[in-house]
């Protein structure tokens, strides 16, 4: 379940989730459809659909099958233009109460994907953790670079005819347990810059929140959970800075935390410390 003001994109129909990949590999579309139905019932506002590197027709088929059981709009999740095109073409807005699908995602190197608007109007997730340099993708290492990528992609989106309210910025979240290079600092810094710039006022922000806690143990030494509280600490920090969407789990209880909560203190310390000290602080949280 989600917090008021936070839109949840249900994450489970993704080829990188091992149990889902098994369903894809077995051709078990009934199983995939069931995942969509379950997430719909549990309150997802959108259902993400990522079929990995399978053929475009497969994406189209999955989109059609899922739309038979849910009136929630879908998020077509692929960096591959051909797969994206097939998914968008198969999508029937009438089945989702006229609502547009999301396209997850367009990066600065893939602005050609805005052409797909002629196939089906969509709301893009704009990936601002990358920038283009000498014709190649480079990771954004600073808040400033991330902000520049957002400025660039928003301008491209508007040029393609989209309204700011259609656009969703994804600043790219990395696991806190291996963040030795200050990614969290970059991300929060970028969110602050975007928040302070009126041209982004009507633009949305999203992150793939489960990625924040991958590779961590599930329990702290006292048996209490690790991942949920750290993800909630991130929400508590980022929502006042404009975060209003997440790709996440319908099974997680998302809530804001009081400042004295240990996970909140861990997050603040990690932001302050950076580098290896931050990794040590995360370990201290769960040991």
């Amino acid at each position: 379940m989600a917090i008021a003001g936070l839109t949840l994109i249900g994450e489970t129909i993704n080829d990188s989730v091992p149990s889902t990949r098994k369903l894809f590999e077995a051709g078990d579309l009934a199983g995939i459809v069931e995942l969509a139905r379950f997430q719909d019932e549990k309150g997802a506002a959108y259902i993400d659909v990522n079929v990995g590197a399978r053929p475009p027709e497969f994406m189209a088929d999955v989109v059609r099958r899922i739309q038979e059981v849910t009136a929630k709009p879908l998020s077509i999740d692929t960096p591959d233009p051909a797969i994206a095109k097939a998914g968008l073409a198969a999508y029937d807005p009438a089945r989702a109460g006229g609502r547009k699908p999301l396209l997850n995602s367009i990066s600065p190197l893939r602005v050609g994907m805005f052409d797909l608007l002629s196939v089906q109007p969509f709301r893009p997730i704009l990936l601002i953790s990358e920038r283009v340099e000498d014709g190649r993708s480079r990771p954004c290492q600073t808040a400033e670079q991330t902000y520049q990528a957002a400025t660039f992609l928003l301008a491209e989106a508007q040029r393609a005819g989209l309204e700011p309210d259609d656009c969703i910025l994804d600043p790219g979240i990395a696991p806190i347990g291996s963040d030795t290079e200050g990614n969290l600092k970059r991300l929060i810094g970028a969110m602050e810059m975007l928040h302070n710039d009126p041209k982004f006022a009507r633009v949305h922000r999203s992150v793939g929140l489960s990625n924040f806690t991958v590779q961590l143990p599930s329990k702290r030494a006292d048996g209490s959970p690790v991942k949920g509280p750290l993800e909630n600490a991130f929400l508590t920090k980022a929502m006042p800075l404009g975060l209003d969407m997440i790709i996440g789990s319908v099974k997680r209880v998302y809530e804001t935390l009081p400042p004295e909560h240990p996970a909140m203190q861990c997050l603040e310390d990690c932001l302050r410390l950076g580098g290896f000290e931050a990794i040590l602080r995360v370990r201290e949280f769960y040991r």
Partner: protein
């Protein structure tokens, strides 16, 4: 004076400061650097790998231990060179073209260094030709590739083909890894080995150079 044996615990627990202290003291006391490496440091990293595999350690512990290992190794490297110690083998590592994920690749590189391999890190978004050039320069190296995206893992095949075309494939062992990679994919493209974690990568590299 701290005992050289304390180096083992310092690395397993990821205490970089302690690892530095013990190594310095040991070198001042003329302890053989090769012995330090073989008797305490490499076994310590092996232990770290084991704990990771049985879910006692997680990625933060791996990173912290690898840092302690690197700290000690930096002090040792000049002495090892003086003593004419041979590296366990050489590895050229990189993340394939189009892919910017490097956390796993860096961890694998650190663990390999920890195990005594000489590692040349080509970074991220590495084109096939760059792998080939590095393999040529560092003849006899293992080429190690990482990919985290289903859209970029196909680059691994291109690198294998480029190595073949350059006449280097037979002299070069190739190992691959990253979240979407499977043994099946490894077999399909004809790479020499795959592992789904950093300690497995070390065991694999040892196997490929014929020391385990």
């Amino acid at each position: 004076m701290p005992e050289p044996a304390e180096l083992y615990d310092a690395i397993v627990t990821g205490n970089a400061k302690k690892a530095e202290e013990v190594t310095k003291a040991a070198l001042e006391a003329n302890v053989n650097p090769t012995e330090l490496l073989g008797k305490y440091m490499i076994p310590a990293m092996d232990e770290v790998g084991k704990r990771f595999e049985c879910n006692e350690y997680f990625v933060p512990e791996l990173l912290i231990a690898a840092r302690a290992m690197k700290t000690a190794l930096a002090l040792l490297t000049p002495k090892l060179a003086e003593a004419g110690a041979k590296a366990a083998g050489r590895v050229v590592i990189g993340t394939v073209q189009g892919d910017l994920h490097d956390i796993g690749k860096n961890l694998v590189a650190s663990m390999l260094e920890g195990a005594g391999f000489k590692v040349v890190d080509l970074g991220v978004d590495v084109p096939a030709q760059k792998f080939v050039e590095a393999a040529k320069e560092q003849e006899g190296s293992i080429v190690a590739m990482s990919a985290l995206l289903t859209t970029t893992m196909t680059q691994m095949r291109s690198v294998l083909q480029a190595l073949e075309a350059a006449g280097l494939r037979r002299k070069t062992k190739v190992m691959i890894g990253g979240a979407p990679i499977t043994q099946q994919y490894c077999d399909e493209i004809g790479a020499d080995g795959y592992s789904d974690n950093a300690s497995g990568a070390v065991a694999l590299a040892r196997r490929l150079v014929g020391v385990a």
